[in-house]
């Protein structure tokens, strides 16, 4: 990543690069707007860096839960036709997308 810190100590974010990681196109005016806003937000959230977290376990989940398992048995899913009614493009009962392989 090409991010760097400028002389004011502000972390520079390559907004378009990050957006592309998320498969999201931006136009130039969006990049301009988001640039300052994102850097302001990131600068603020850096405050958590002042805490000593070396001995702290992370919480990935609000409640302590283990893997929830079930029997591996076949059960009915959603109705195929109903699901395909929402498809932007359909061919032969399948989702159609632009060609991937030549």
């Amino acid at each position: 990543m090409v991010d760097e810190v400028d002389q004011d100590g502000i972390e520079r974010i390559d907004v378009r690069y990050v957006a592309n990681l998320a498969r999201l196109y931006l136009d130039d005016s969006e990049v301009d707007t988001f640039q300052g806003q994102m850097e302001g937000i990131v600068e603020y959230v850096k405050q958590i860096g002042e805490l000593d977290l070396s001995e702290i376990e992370p919480t990935s989940h609000a409640r302590p839960i283990q893997n929830i398992l079930r029997e591996d048995v076949v059960s009915p899913g959603l109705d195929h036709e109903l699901v395909m009614d929402n498809a932007p493009r359909e061919k032969d009962g399948q989702f159609a997308v632009p060609q991937i392989i030549e």
Binding site: R23, F34, R70, N86
Partner: protein
Amino acid sequence: MGIEISSLTVHGALDALSGGECSSEELVRDVVAEIAKRDAEVGAYVSVDEELALEQARAADAARSAGKCGRLLGVPIAIKDVLNVEGQSCTCGSKILEGYTSPYDATAIAKLRAEGAVFLGRANMDEFAMGSTTQNSAYKVTHNPWNLDCVPGGSSGGSAAAVAAGEAIAALGTDTGGSIRQPASFCGCVGLKPSYGRISRYGLVAFASSLDQIGPITKNVRDAALLCEVMSGVDKMDSSSMDEPIPQLAVDLPADLKGVTLGLPKEYFVDGMDDDVRRGVMAAVEKCRELGAEIKEVSLPHTKYAVSTYYIIATAEASANLARFDGVRYGKRAEGATDPIDMYGKTRAEGFGAEVKRRIILGTYVLSSGYYDAYYLSAQKVRTLIRQDFEKVFEDCDALLAPVTPSPAYRIGENLDDPLQMYLGDICTVTANLAGICGLSVPCAMTESGLPVGLQILGPAFKEENILKVGHAYEQARGDMPLPEILKR
């Protein structure tokens, strides 16, 4: 039919229905008439499905005549546009889901349906529940029924505005960082965020999966208790739903608070807090003391890190969850793409609004290589500290009293171009989601300019009965609150 719809509660409607004062069909027609009268100004609904609602109402009336009963039989409820109801649209306030029809019921919806509830329509919201004002909806701006120039709060702003404006008997919202409690507070309603895992999230379009919870927005605490109780329970379709006993929440709500210890977290009474909000909340605290509660000041020392922690975790989870909107299986697909990657980029550019884009980018950034440890992993560790803060104070407090927000509802358009300022307003609500505990917002005062103020009551995880008891006893002692002027027109 002689029933005042604007202040009609769920329990009041059930009494009227069982007493033969009205039918569900009449009730639905009356509520639809209120919507027709007012929603052009308020903008609470994205869509109202009158025919489908009347069909359900007639079925409820037939069931009642046949001697069947249901705990919500024939009661019309508004549903936030993020919960799947079979056969209805579910836009999530986004253009990317325009034209989508739900092929199934969310578990919470199925449970309400099984008890005979009637689904009126789709309540407006910030796109994908990202926002505190409902201005981020791609469809319309919702106005606060108390002052149409002000925001109703968000993201469940449509749900709260519908209840406040007499356009629904009750409503469902969702709360990821305050999205039930804050609009309930801004609109003078009761809003309950249940404990994480209390209500199945199956069929709720995910924003941040470790924080999201479904909950009711109602006209009183008893109604919120009933709706929560009906929707609760473990679900095999949501492995994070918890197999905890469901207490009978709507009954056995005492009138006093003898023997109850309530904590006052000093960090929630922040500098720069609105004077009317502080006065209103402190008056409510005094009322609870008069009711017999012991009040003690407590400290939640990591509160100042909550907004940072929340916006790192919530956006990280959102960036992953919203990857599913790619134009392949449902919703919008951009035209003219040359290959699938191009199709994703264009579809998402056209389909998402600015706030959603901002959060996807921020979430992708904090998860990206080289930044993961500094932001995401650190935030998860601070989340542990915030959770431990609560565990500690709940060792000797039954519940906590606090404001819901530092200020009452503000003007439409204010701070729209300053997302960080907007995020800082979530300081009093995001903590409950990070810790997985339950929270309730109950109206407690009016500001000098005539806007409602909410009292927040926080309780330990799976102790909804604690906060509902406090909320109900306080509500009874407080007495009736005024109604918005718009209802008198």
